[in-house]
């Protein structure tokens, strides 16, 4: 059996990859997907902890997080679509009206 620490390491790696993706990508959709990767990293951590503690709570929490991620996707894609209509682009460097 694979020890739980391994899953935890995978989860941390996923989370860090999400953060890196969020900062280096210049595209709204990819940045948003990086956030989704981070959320799934958290889900993996929840399941690992729930499994090693032998309690079901963590596994149920994951369902809530998935629901939240879906709702976030719905509103996020709507906003990104609005940006596309205004700017004809979803690159972050094109969105810079306000500064300072």
């Amino acid at each position: 059996m694979i020890p739980p620490t391994y899953y935890l390491v995978v989860s941390i790696i996923l989370f860090v990859l999400g953060i890196i993706g969020f900062f280096i990508k210049k595209d709204l959709i990819t940045q948003f997907l990086s956030v989704e990767v981070m959320l799934n990293a958290a889900n993996l951590a929840f399941i690992t902890f729930a499994h090693s503690a032998g309690s079901l709570d963590g596994q149920i929490i994951v369902f809530f997080v998935i629901t939240v991620a879906a709702a976030e996707a719905a509103i996020g894609l709507a906003i990104i679509l609005l940006v596309y209509r205004k700017h004809k682009s979803i690159k972050t460097e094109d969105i810079h009206l306000m500064k300072g």
């Binding site: 956030v35 981070m38 929490i61 709702a71 996020g76 906003i79 609005l82 009206l97």
Partner: protein, 478 residues
Amino acid sequence: MNTFAALYPLLSIVVGALVVLLLEVFLKRKNRDYLAFISILFLLNAGRECIRVWNQGYTYFDGNLQLDNLALLLCLILTLATLLVILISMKYLRLQNVNFGEYYALLLFALSGMIIMVSSTDLLIIFLGLEVLSMSSYALAGLKIEDVRSTEAAVKYFLLGSFASAFLVFGLAFLYGAAHSLDIPAIVNFFRADTSLSLMALAGLGFVIIGFGFKIAWVPFHMWTPDVYEGSPTPVTAFFSVGPKVVGFAVLIRLFQLYWSESLNSQIVSSSLWVIAVLTMVAGNLLALRQRNVKRILAYSSIAHAGYLLVALLAEDNSGLVFYLFVYLFMNIGAFTAVIALSKKGTEYLDLENYKGIGFRYPWIGATLSVFLFSLAGFPPTGGFLAKFYIFASAVHEGFIWLVIIGVLASLISVYYYLRIVVYMYMHTATNDIEIDAYNPALFLVLFLCLYGVLQMGIFPGNVLIIIKQAVASLPIF
């Protein structure tokens, strides 16, 4: 007592939101004001329910929804804030061509999320409430769809907000792994029992603090604040500057319940919060100095106020913190109301240049805005002074001498940019003609109420303090 009555305040808000959403379909565009009145009715009902169950300690959902006095008081503050925001929105929405019925429904949904957050002690429920609040906020920020800035505000708020929520969830996972529960009392007990260094729990807590820090706008996590405040419709900005701060600090009050005695963990948390407080107070005030847009000035001022509030959290002065939040609600919404009053169809006057001579041309607006700015800066006869005084006094009492010195110096800096607006209003002659068209009884009612609140709490704070003491006493004692 486990009773369905605990659900009434929340239920009133949610039902109100759904009713508004439904009626929006049937009402013509020029009749949308009725929706505002309907939402105000539901808000008043929710406030009445909150007052009715005061001191009863009702719970529901197996104790997951807890209406202790602190939760009730914060519910009342938030309901009042939403009420004032709706009152100042009515004419503004018509003038700026954003009178969608969804606006009121989204505000009520955001309020319901905040009420869920303040009346629960389970971090999962709190997270879900936070998401209800955030989703509605993203939509509210982008509601001015004809304005590119509003869209930009929405997308920035959405991306950084969801980034912060991801941190929050990841932190929750680690807290869960350490304490095997997401219930705040269980987590506090875990930290109190654990006298050694527990890295996993601390990392989790750190991530949770980052998540809330984004919402509250502490300094390393404040980048979104000025842009979102500038781009959003102004009443929504007023809402953002009060609501998320109140709920963020409400959760942190419960989480840092008495600092888990004198453990090593609490020292680490305390010193990192110390650094954040200093950064927030200093950077918030310094960055405000070079702004010319009034909404941006108020955005940086709200960042600085988040720093003062953090001082109260560090000093464990819960009643001072709630008092500050109460005063902050009145002075900040008041200031934004005055900004909204200076607008006409399709235009808002936000640049400092536009404020030249306003004080003589529109004496009532100029005078009230000056009082709110004095209060934000912390001058004596106003509530802002007493609030700062209580916080800094208890911080000195707890031994945070340097923190208080830095805080006082930072608020001295803030006097410059607050008074600069007053100087522009009274000591410059008007160069261009500014026509304003936002005169409206509701707006004046809000200006008057905020003025009353600021002065009442500055001169006779006794009654409010008694209520706050009762509320804070409902926190569990370890």
